[in-house]
Every structure is written in C-alpha cells, then in structure tokens.
Symmetry: C2
Subunit: 257 residues, 2 copies
C-alpha cells in the first residue's frame, strides 16, 4: 500500500492489526486503546457503532475482540475518512466494518444505513473518543483537520448523547472517554437523554497525579447507581508501566531480577 505525505504505518500490537496515521493530523493514543479495552459484552454478536472514528483505531481493535459483530464507523472529515477507508482495507476488515461519512447529528441517516445492512436499527454498543477541547478554546488557526479532530466544533456532548440515545436499543451501552474536568457535563447531560453512567474508571498517570482521562459506560434506561472501579494507574514510581497497562497492551513484561 502506498503512503501519502506525512503518513506512517503503526502496529497496534493486537492480532497483527496495523493502522496508517498522518502525523499532521490527529494520531491515536492511549485513550482509544483503553476505551476499547473497557467494553464489556456477554455477546460476541453485536451491532456496534463507533462515532467520530478518525483513522478507525477503535473499530479496528474491537473487530478482533467481537469477531461476529457488525461494526459501523462514522467520520465526517474528508482527510480522516480517507485514512479510515484505507485502514479498513489494510486490515482486510471490509466485511466486518462498514464506514459512513457524515455528521453524527444526522442520526436518521446513520440509522438508515444500519437498517439497510443489518435489517435492524437496534444498536447494542456505541463507542466514541470525541474531541476534548471546548469549541473556540486553544489556537484555532492550526491545520483545520487537526483542529476539528481535537475541538468540540462538529461534535459536542449534547450531539453525542442525543444521537447515542436515539440509536441505542433499550439497555444498550455507550462507551466514552473524555477529560475528567468535564465530569459534571458528562454525567448530567447524559442523564437528560436517558443515558445513565453505570461504570466509571479514572486513569491516573501515576498514583500521586490527577487523573488524565475518565472512561465511562452508560446504559440507556439504566438505574441511578454507578459502579466506581479501582484507579487505573499507568506508570510505577520508577517510570515503568504498571502490570495492568502491560496486560491491556498485550506486552510481555520484562522481568529484570
């Protein structure tokens, strides 16, 4: 496969999956990997929808875990959509992952596409690693693709929860990763759309630092008690990865006695 300017192929470390990234745009990070790992489902056969897919790292990772699931990936921007198309091809996942170009607020159009391919409009699982930065914050005159991928320009929390609530089946699950600073919005706005946070995990770079990200599982129509999980600590005091991070990344831990 030919690469374009500023592109490179990264190994995802799972089942030989690979991903083309453009270093000028938004590249995937720990948050997407941790979110993919946070998903729980008793069924390997689901209809899964990933919103704001970017280059497709989340649908590609979860395609390995949920082998018999049908996955849909939605991305708005031309440049990222082009990467998404080629990443699905690169991994021979065209049968499992259907890609749609569009804005997440067009939930009717997304639903029509899902019905056309599956015969059902009931989505079991939605995943999203959305842009974190509030609209208008930060330096706006950066490369536009990168700016939109990072800011809530085209994809704010109201849009995310509205569309997720419209598309999920009753008791369907939404998995989201975001900045801990937004926790009140993340819980209160979701509740307005009948999405109740049921499992929450904070990720702390070290045991003595503020959390860097929060992972949230919402259930549509869920009751008002939340399971708070133990902290996920990324690094030990000596700067090495913790055992849990090694496990999530499927890495061999080097034992140095």
């Amino acid at each position: 496969m030919n690469l374009k300017n500023n592109e490179r192929i990264d190994d995802l470390g799972i089942n030989d999956l690979k991903i083309i990234q453009n270093t000028e745009y938004f590249c995937f990070g720990t948050d997407s990997v941790l979110l993919s790992n946070f998903i729980t489902s008793n069924s390997s056969k689901n209809i899964i929808l990933d919103l704001c897919s970017g280059g497709g790292v989340i649908p590609i990772i979860i395609s390995a875990k949920y082998k018999y699931s049908k996955i849909f990936a939605v991305e708005l921007q031309d440049e990222m959509f082009d990467l998404l198309v080629r990443n699905v091809e690169l991994n021979n996942l065209k049968d499992k992952i259907s890609i749609l170009q569009g804005n997440i607020i067009d939930f009717n159009s997304i639903r029509q596409n899902i019905i056309k391919e599956t015969g059902s409009g009931n989505v079991n699982i939605i995943t999203i690693n959305p842009p974190y930065k509030p609209k208008g914050n930060g330096i706006g005159n950066e490369h536009n693709v990168k700016y939109i991928a990072r800011h809530e320009e085209m994809c704010n929390l109201e849009d995310i929860f509205l569309t997720s609530s419209k598309l999920l089946e009753y008791k369907g699950k939404l998995y989201l990763v975001h900045k801990p600073e937004r926790i009140v919005d993340l819980l209160a706005i979701a509740r307005k759309y009948d999405l109740e946070a049921k499992r929450i995990r904070y990720v702390y770079p070290r045991v003595d630092t503020k959390p860097s990200i929060v992972l949230i599982e919402y259930i549509k129509g869920g009751g008002n008690e939340t399971l708070m999980l133990p902290p996920l600590i990324e690094y030990n005091e000596d700067g090495s990865y913790t055992d849990e991070i090694y496990k999530i990344y499927g890495m061999e831990k080097k034992n140095e006695e």
Copy 2:
C-alpha cells in the same frame, strides 16, 4: 462530665478536642475527618453551617482550623442533638458553635437563626456528611436513631442541595462526603440547584480497590469545569497507613528501619 449508658469519650487527635459518642447510635468515622480536611478557604473568618451534624464532629474539628469563624450546627434527632449540646460544652466551644435543632428542609428557620446571631444571612461554607443509604433500603427495624442517621429518611439529596443553594452566598461553597455509587445524582441534582462540583477527590482503601467515599466541593454559581484530584489512598500494601493519612490525622509516623 457524667456519661450516659453506652457512651464513651473519644479523643479527636486535634488540639485536645474530644467527643462523646454513643455506641448504640451512629459514631463518627474517617469520612467526617477527611471532609473536614478537604475544606479550603482563604478567610479564617467565615459563617459556616454544618447540616445533619450528629454528635458534632465536623463543626468541632473545623472550629480549630477556622478560629475566627462563626459555626452553626443543625441536628434533627433528640438523642443526637443531646450529644451535640454536650460535645460543644465539653470542648468549651459555646461561643464559636451555635446549635440548632430542626429539619434541614426548614431553610427559612435556619436562615432566621443565622441572621439573629450574625446580622447576615450569607453563609460562606456549608458542610454535610449525610446519611448514605437510600430510604427504605436495609434493615428498617434497627434502633430508630441509628436508622435515621444512616438512611436518607429525613435528609435526601434534593433537600440537601435545595437548602444549601438557598443559604449559601453567591460563590459560597458546599462540602459533602458520600458514596461513589451515587455520583450521577451527586453531580446532576446539585447542578439543578446551581451548585456545580468544582473539586472532587475519591478515597480508595487501597490502590487496587474501588473507592469507598467521594469528597466533593461545590460552588454556587460555579462554571462547568471540575478539578479532579489525585486519588487518596488510605492503606499501603502492607496494611499500614499511607503518608497522607498520617498527615491528615496529625499522627506521628513510626519509622522502623
């Protein structure tokens, strides 16, 4: 001072403060001490209100830190109110701590009492360690005083946030400790009453356990970004207290080389 049946005097470990507790009722725990320690204020001169005071552990602890503040303590139940009265006397704090018997939903009556004593109805800080268990849950035929002190029978989250919002000045602070399982209610219901969670800290018994309690600072009229603090871990792997817990409790750490 004469003690009644089932009563004992505990040392608070701060400035020689002591507290009478009745082992048949609700006794204070780590949560009250951690909440008292969680308060921040640039002024030592505040009007502070503690709701659901029980035996008064929170107002008694904070009286030592905020020496020039006027503190009000509200308790509903006769048996706990009796303990509160005697605890304030025991520590010679009658000048600093005014005690009121009543239900927290009677915010007008609380306000009138505060105005009568201070000339101002503007409360700067409210603290509360409320009953954690939802109404109707658990064994209801326990000793009634203990049941009410532990369940949301007379003091639910709607009442807490309504009264706090009515009594706090603009930008005044509410400090609350609760179960992490209730986090969505704790953030979403508060927002309805213009109380925005601005600082949150989870307390984990150990680094690999779920959090046992959450400490929240709300600001009336605060904006929608929250400072998430590092985890507060209580115990090391070997079962000893962590350095931070030693510091909060003002204990000497035993150095065993």
